[in-house]
Amino acid sequence: MTTPSSSTTDPVLSVRDLTIRFKARGRETPVVHGIDFDIHGGETLALVGESGSGKSVTSFALMRLLPDARHCTIEGQVNIGGVNLLELTERKMTSVRGPKIAMIFQEPLTSLNPVHRVGDQIAEAIRYHRKMTRAQIRDRVLELLTLVGIPDPERRMSAYPGAMSGGMRQRVVIAMALALEPDLLIADEPTTALDVTVQAQILELLRDIQNRTGMAMLFITHDFGVVAEIADRVMVMYSGRIVEEGRLEDVLTQPRMPYTQGLLSSVPRLEDAGLRTGALGTIEGFVPTAGNLPDGCSFHPRCPHARPGVCDTAMPALEPHGRPDHPVRCLRIEDIAASDMEDLSV
């Protein structure tokens, strides 16, 4: 996988200065603050963050699934194929969802209608967007069920969601999302509700499908273990801003932002199992709520490297600081010596 900066083709998705504000009780609360990113064909970008970081809101904005302008304002650009989705009418947007951009969610049961057969639910999108005969649609549904690894697809296409296991339901949801061969698949915590063995199967399935179709994927998760399984690049989000971005290897092995370092050190490792390696790394305090962000860097009250007069005064920009493919939003990056980072990991 080449790094996106060296890629010559146009990105499938290009997000510029995406800002989302929720309106409530006459107040506007920004929840996503001007984020930028690109995803290329065949590439998987993982968006990582804890609850409240704004990662799911971002993905909902890309799909235009957020409430209307009375409740929320979205600014910036979401470009797919030269079109800014934020400017489309709802009717036009309907023709984009499916063939251009599709989404799968955490809980497969809520994405499926319990009183319709799964085959009909997959066929619905095809019937809506494509002029195909019944027999052609049926063949396509069978093909999709086979693609997502559902055994005995002829029989399963007439089953109801309730008769399927969680893993099989998520496969059906993936088949629905893939029905119109989208250029971009957004996967919002698609394996969080599944058992580990099933999760491993679904991640492998997504990788495999991506290899075959070359689609771009935005994968949203809070789990760095899952990130390591699926991502080419990683964006870490905190309080509605991207705080670090880089290639998978770089972010996992050389995290630069103290927040990312803290997150990684808090994950228990299989290699340490049973060794009583002592306390896990923690991040003091809590994720601030939107609308109550501290001055300066949003992370500074929790940051072991924060310096008064520096970190609490200005919001740092997401900048390369010497590593163009691994920008970070930290004013202290030059001062945080490599030895400091090692201390954090113990």
């Binding site: 804890e50 491993a200 809070h222 273990g225 399984e229 996992l252 808090s266 994950v267 049973g274």
Partner: protein, 342 residues
């Protein structure tokens, strides 16, 4: 090491009734013949996937649910046959922490009310002031300021609520605690804080802990020994390091290989789990794991593997002694500390 609590051929079967007369047509064997000893002062991890019966087993040991058959021995005396009243003295010794810190606290009760409730029940001789003191002290014990005692659950974050849930268990000074997926609903950084709290209280209070979870890395961090459950039965039980470095049951091998790790280069090297999970209504004949096992032979159809000792303290319920399984980690005397910077 002395045994604090022991399950002897423990079974929890739920009848499935169908038809006009509601006749029992089948049974879900949530726990099916479990033998298990938990030593005083240890943390026993209980892992398994959804539907494996791990939560039911935890509830059985607590007598929150009376087992269909079998015995639960607490310091040698059977709890399963006791009347509700005769169980009362044991209730204080055994406490539980639940998964969801949002639904396990009453939103209309202050922290003080929630924490003192167990005391009213178990130590009615205490005055209101004494109860209040005990609540404040326990709150401090779990890392929250005393002053928060007058607050309501909605004023707390998920991690703080889980601390309150732990405090509610600790306030009666139990000997044994069952924690059922206590960190699964929490964000990673908060999960680490709560895990550290568990490590700390088990040391300082000498607590015996049954830690029920689906997360192998979590169990590897917290547990002294690990039991692996599948379809109501224990497949393997071993000291934690041994389970991760030398698994003896194919199901453990599969689980370990499926656990995602935040390391580069681990991608895709999986031992696949065959097929679909069997219905707990009609588990496979013979070894219950055989339909999904990559090492199954025709003998497994008829075998009913018992837990057998395969190494010191290491039991496995598999007839195949001849296979060598892939460990999650190779056993090195010291694991190099992970580095975070180049």
């Amino acid at each position: 090491m002395s045994t604090l609590i022991e399950a002897v051929d423990l079974k929890q079967h739920y009848p499935v009734r169908q038809g006009l007369l509601g006749r029992q047509t089948a049974a879900v064997k949530a726990v099916d013949g479990v033998n298990l000893r938990i030593h005083r002062g240890e943390v026993l991890g209980l892992v398994g996937e959804s539907g494996s019966g791990k939560s039911t087993l935890g509830r059985n040991l607590m007598m929150m649910e009376r087992p269909t058959s079998g015995a639960v021995l607490y310091e040698g005396s059977d709890l399963a046959g006791r009347s509700h009243k005769a169980l009362h003295p044991y209730r204080r010794k055994m406490q539980m922490v639940f998964q969801d810190p949002f639904s396990s606290l009453n939103p209309r009760m202050t922290v003080e009310d929630s924490l003192t409730m167990p005391l009213r029940f178990h130590q009615p001789e205490l005055s209101a002031a004494q109860r209040r003191d005990a609540a404040a002290e326990t709150l401090e014990r779990v890392g929250l300021p005393r002053s928060m005692i007058t607050r309501y659950p909605h004023e707390f974050s998920g991690g703080q609520r889980q601390r309150i849930g732990i405090a509610r268990g600790l306030i009666v000074r139990p000997e044994f605690m069952v924690a059922d997926e206590p960190v699964s609903a929490l964000d990673v950084s908060v999960q680490a804080q709560v895990l550290n709290l568990f490590s700390e209280i088990r040391e300082s209070l000498g607590l015996t802990l049954l830690f029920v979870t689906h997360d192998l890395a979590v169990v590897g961090h917290i547990a002294d020994r690990v039991a692996v459950m599948y379809l109501g039965q224990i497949m393997e039980i071993a000291p934690t390091r041994a389970l991760f470095t030398a698994p003896k049951h194919p199901y453990t091998e599969t689980l370990l290989s499926a656990a995602p790790q935040p390391t580069v280069g681990a991608r895709g090297a999986r031992i696949p789990m065959k097929g679909e999970p069997p219905s707990p209504l009609s588990p496979p004949s013979g070894c219950v794991f055989r339909t999904r096992c990559s090492h199954a032979t025709p003998e497994c159809d008829a075998a009913h593997p018992e837990l057998r000792s395969r190494a010191p303290g290491h039991l496995s319920a598999c007839i195949r002694d001849d296979i060598s399984l892939v460990p999650a980690v190779s056993d090195r005397p010291t694991s190099p500390r992970r580095k975070q910077s180049a």
